[in-house]
């Protein structure tokens, strides 16, 4: 037994206080007043009170007192919020999934209706309700009023995030520290999810499968330098739950809202497609790929896709990467040739953010960070105030196998300095260039990019995944926290904007997977005896009885 509203000592004190008060009131008797009355009336009264000689009527005043005490105590216990709980009974935790799969068909509406039907019947003492949002949160705790339920549920809709149920389920033992818990799941079909020890999982509602689905499950880009141009190549992958093979005509591609000719879409294998040679411009470009809607009059109209979040995907193509450099006189030919040929680099001393120097003297342009020659040791040295960058730079070296003697590349070291700069054995690297080895050129490009700290557009951005970091990107992104979109949304990082798309073959396939939708065994949700209601109703009943007894003259 416990009390919700008052502490135990207060309840006990109050109860005794009421008893004392009622006892005192019991003895609130009138002083005797002698009246002269007619004898006839006296005998009438005597006849009326003749029953007072019965045994129980000797105690009628005490019975009245006890009834009054009972009524008062019942009301006091109800005010105190008395609750009879069995600590061995499990806590029932209801989980409503609002992930993107619930957008299919009427999944969300049906789940909410089922939840509203089941939840109020359970005792509020041992039930809770969680919303499986992008980050699951508790919407109803134990003892909180069901009044919140209706108001809150009306605003809850399925969102474009991935299910977070399995991660939340793993956290349940920690959240409920040793308490037995039954989790009631209302949501989209799960995979094989095993509940942790001590937690029972019950699928109270699993959303129905839709007839068929088609969607975009991957979209990504890579930037290339070709001749004098920076271009992007985009690949994307489609999925059909009915194993349909798509053609370029089934797809609409928009580049900044202008359609891209279907002839440029190249079909690869397994419903993969590519678009090559998209020139990058000074501004980012939005590329949207979407599935054409099925003709409603076609034979396949019954396979109409009623799950839309995966029907389109958007990718932000980065703006042309432009780095202005200043060159000192006397640089090796291969360096000047590289700068001239690289469409990312432009020689402009006025706007230079990187200076490339053969000697670090007064003639070395003092604009921005410096890359300079140092042939005294066969090493490339990165000077940086951020010591944590060493590990990312080491990863670059390893990723390109530049530690392997076969590549003849210089070693790498990272030293602390107040400002960023890089020193390289340019003469030695030039010898490798003359042997037509491409690694020195790649190294020079990466070092210049590292000095300028240009943001790197991710190859792709998918809901529920961290943005990928390619070996070359790691050099510039260093130790940054990567974007991790939780919903289909726009991501802004500084001046860069990226678009997150769903890209989940699991979801796209699962929404149309046939499943056994028969209701699961309904477990006891702990609808305990509503003691509080019983107490109040009992008090009400006793009040009515007392009233009747009082009006009949039995009690005063």
């Amino acid at each position: 037994m416990s009390f919700v509203n008052f502490p135990f000592w207060l309840v006990v004190t109050g109860a005794f206080s009421l008893i004392a008060l009622l006892y005192a009131l019991q003895h609130l008797k009138a002083q005797p007043v002698v009246l002269r009355v007619a004898s006839v009336q006296l005998w009438q009264e005597a006849l009326q009170h003749a029953s007072a000689n019965k045994f129980w009527q000797r105690f009628r005043h005490w019975l009245g007192f006890l009834l009054a005490v009972l009524i008062a105590l019942l009301l006091w216990l109800a005010i105190s919020g008395i609750r009879f709980t069995d600590s061995t009974k499990p806590l029932h935790v209801f989980y409503l999934d609002t992930s993107v799969a619930m957008q299919a068909g009427d999944n969300m509406t049906d789940a909410k209706a089922e939840l509203v039907a089941r939840l109020p019947s359970s005792s509020s003492a041992n039930r809770e309700l969680w919303i499986g949002d992008a980050v699951p949160a508790k919407i109803l705790s134990a003892d909180s009023s069901n009044a919140v339920l209706t108001a809150s549920l009306s605003t809850i809709q399925a969102s474009s995030h991935l299910p977070a149920f399995s991660e939340w389920l793993e956290r349940v033992p920690t959240l409920y520290a040793g308490q037995p818990v039954v989790v009631h799941y209302f949501g989209s079909a799960l995979g094989n999810i095993t509940a942790p020890d001590g937690i029972a999982l019950q699928n109270d509602f699993i959303s129905a499968a839709i007839s068929a689905n088609a969607g975009i499950t991957a979209i990504g880009q890579q930037r290339f330098m070709t001749d004098n141009e920076q271009v992007s190549r985009v690949t994307f992958t489609l999925l059909s739950s009915v194993e349909q093979q798509f053609q370029p005509d089934d797809i609409t591609v928009l580049l900044n809202d202008s359609p891209v000719d279907a002839a440029r879409i190249i079909a690869l294998q397994d419903n993969q497609f590519a678009i090559s040679g998209i020139p990058l411009t000074d501004q980012p470009q939005r590329l949207t790929v979407s599935l054409n809607e099925a003709d409603s009059f076609s034979v396949d109209s019954f396979l109409a896709d009623s799950f839309l979040p995966d029907n389109s995907a958007t990718l932000m193509l980065p703006a042309k990467s432009q780095i202005f450099v200043a060159l000192q006189d006397g640089l090796p030919d291969w360096v000047t040739r590289f700068v001239d040929a690289n469409p990312q680099l432009t020689v402009d001393p006025e706007r230079a953010s990187v200076s490339i120097c053969i000697n670090r003297d007064d003639t070395c342009p003092a604009s921005g960070a410096t890359l300079y020659a140092d042939d005294s040791s066969n090493a490339v040295t990165f000077y940086t105030p951020i010591s944590e960058e060493q590990s990312s730079l080491q990863k670059i070296w390893q990723a390109y196998d530049w530690s392997d003697p076969a590549y003849n590349m210089p070693s790498m070291q990272v030293l602390n300095a107040e400002t960023k700069s890089v020193s390289m054995p340019l003469s030695y690297l030039g010898q490798l260039v003359e042997k037509q080895q491409a690694d020195p050129l790649l190294l020079l490009s990466m070092a210049i990019n590292w000095l300028t700290d240009l943001p790197v557009a991710p190859a792709y951005l998918a809901v529920g995944e961290a943005a990928p970091v390619l070996p070359g990107d790691a050099l510039t992104q260093s130790n940054a926290i990567n974007p991790f979109p939780l919903t289909i949304s726009q991501f802004k990082e500084g001046d860069a904007v990226a678009m997150a798309s769903l890209q989940s073959p699991v979801i796209s396939r699962q929404v149309a997977s046939a499943r056994d939708t028969s209701g699961s065994v309904e477990a006891d949700t702990g609808s305990d005896v509503p003691w509080l209601t019983i107490i109040i109703l009992t008090a009400l009943g006793l009040l009515i009885v007392e009233w009747l007894m009082i009006q009949r003259g039995r009690w005063a």
């Binding site: 009246l35 880009q221 991790f484 009233w547």
Partner: protein, 818 residues
Amino acid sequence: MSISFLHPAYLALLTLLPVIWYFRRGKDRVLPVLRCLLVLCITLALMEPVIQSHSNAIHHVVIVDRSPSVSETNAREAVEQANQFLSHVEADDADVIVLGNSDASEFNNVPTAVIPTTSLTQAVMTALASVPYGKSGVITLFSDGYATDDHWEPVLAALEARNVTLNWIETDSAPAQPTIQTTPYPAFYPGQSPTLTINVLAESRDASTLSLRLTSQTGETIEASLGEATEDNLYSPVFELPASEEVFSTWQADLIDNNQIVDIRTIVLAAQSPIPVLMGTSNESDGEHLQSLLGKAFNVSAAPFPWTEPMDFSQYEAVVLNDASESALPVQLQNALIDAINSGTGLLYTGSEQAFSTNGLARSPLADLLPVNIDNTETKREPGISLAIIIDSSGSMQGQPIELAKQVARLAVRKLKPQDQVGIVEFYGTRQWAVPMQPVQDTETLERAIGRLQAQGGSELFPAIEEAYFGLKSSHNKYRHILLITDAAVEEQNYQKLLQYIASDQINISTVLVGDNATGEERMADLANWGRGRFYAVYNEFSMVELNFRRADKIPASAYKEGDFTVRDAASAAPFPSPVRDYTTAPLKPTAITEWTIDNSQDPLLASWQAGVGKVTALMTEPFGKGTESWAGMPEYGQKLGGIIGSLAALANRATLTTQRSFGQINVQFSAQADNIQPELQWKRSDETSWHDAPIRLRAPGLFTGKINVARDATVEVKVSTTLRTYYSALSPLSDLRPEFQFETQYAQRLQQVVTGSGGTRSLAETRQDASITGNAFIKTFALMPFALAMALVLYLSEIIYRRWPSRRNSRFPGNVV
């Protein structure tokens, strides 16, 4: 604000009110009114009225880090500060999370969860789960910031999604303990010795007593001290591990301090698959020969010429062609090979003279891809001659004949070149070598020897011819000739049989009749005829003849050179320890580069250039033939050859496989230079024998990703296979975790980024600042049921008092007061 009733059905109880009113007695109205109000209040309570309002209250969660890296003193201070902080917050709006082992009662009856983990990321996510739906929150973290994992991306995203701020109040950490930081190693192949560096972070005062011990699965151990520090407190001893044929090998690294193990790390090494190389050659054993030279880093497949079936060259990173010809390599296959080279496959073109001549691929499409000219224009070549001059120095030659013979001999010698050989046999009843067969180096000496000849003795030609034949037999020059100078006064013998026999051995015999002996002409002519040579008649010094023993060959521009030639590396100018015996000269094309040169000449021995994405290298000698005979015993030869082929293969498909563990999942990222490959992903635990398939999909051009669900404490081996090669990676147990005392500053910096990204602040305890945040509007409910019941109780007591109050008790007896 609004009011709602959870059980409106109880409104039906209001029907009791008329009953109460009906069953009243007397004219008193107060009692029934009180009783009706009482029943009304109880009915209201049963209907459970709830007031809903919007609130901007903020929920606070305090995380106290009591992990081992935080000293007990600092932890207690953190608890005090947390309690102080919580004292300003409503108990309903606060929760406490404690990392590590702690007593929950330390926190003043605020709901407290104790998490046995030491993961800060998990603690923040658990704290986030404590913030009710729709409410804003502030999480205050009392910690030293040294996280044991780095999974901050989803944490920051979750904080931003829920509008929850993370503040970090930095506490001091316990003194650092020596720890193993990272264990990098360069790529190696099965059968090679891997080189493992173990980076240890330790104070210099501790380093002297520290040592490392590596133990393999087979019990093999290697021990070493830490050596000198490479950076501040960072020690990087390097271990040369024994070679293994297995792809994966597991080692346990123990960091030992005075015989006590202070840190343990499991290291799993993954070798790389050998570079696939295709060798086209006529000699079947060349493939094995090349494999044994190159070693385990390469996997050589030999395909003997001629190639007739279509081939998929994209399966190989490098192709070696040895003595290829147009018949061995049809045009269709050449075109396929060219396509592969343009896509990145490397080509090493080698061979003898044939490979670089008209008999090779001179007029073929592949010739354009070579860095040297295989020119089909023919030029004259003067091959070497071996000439044996038989001079009759018998008595019959006295006088003018011997002088004429000497003159003819001198003329013949002067026609010879340094690459030729000459010998002079004189016969005068016996035979002897006046000048043994020797290179024509010193013509003066030869002429002096000729001058010393004297006519004397008998004339036995037959043995002299035999002698000359035996002298020429061992010569390797293209042209071998016997020049017989005599006056024809020789013995009768079966010259025909002998000369025909000699001629069948490609040795021609020409005769010169000196003197005035008309009868000898027919005989000498016969001898020349049998010997397939020429007959000359020199009667006197005015009838000297032009002797011509060689015929200029028309050969292609690339010329085969024989001899011993010193080779130099073009870059380092260092000579090779052993010379090359033979090679073929071939002109370098513009923009091609010479890597090895022949000393004292401009001839390249090894030349390379870029062809499309791939690289083509030409080696102007046979890798296993006569030319490189002396290199067979050179230990560096295999290494050099491996370096050449390795550099060709490097451009073929530079792919990288990275694997990263995140709790119970392994994220696989495979980036290649092409997106039309179809990689296959497989994995297994180290104690399993069979591989499990896992899906891998194309995410962006050349970028593939996959996910593997496996327990965090499992040692996992991963491989990604393409048609070209297989890539391996391995993950140690708990590889995404760091030891408690590994103070990875990188992780602390990431925590700072999360704090900043969520809008929070980082401060020391004494300078703590609370970030001001605006709370989300969320629905707050207020139940009216207790108030209704309280009102009912008050009304009940009031009614009792009213009933029993003495002044209002009416007598039933109307009468007069006495």
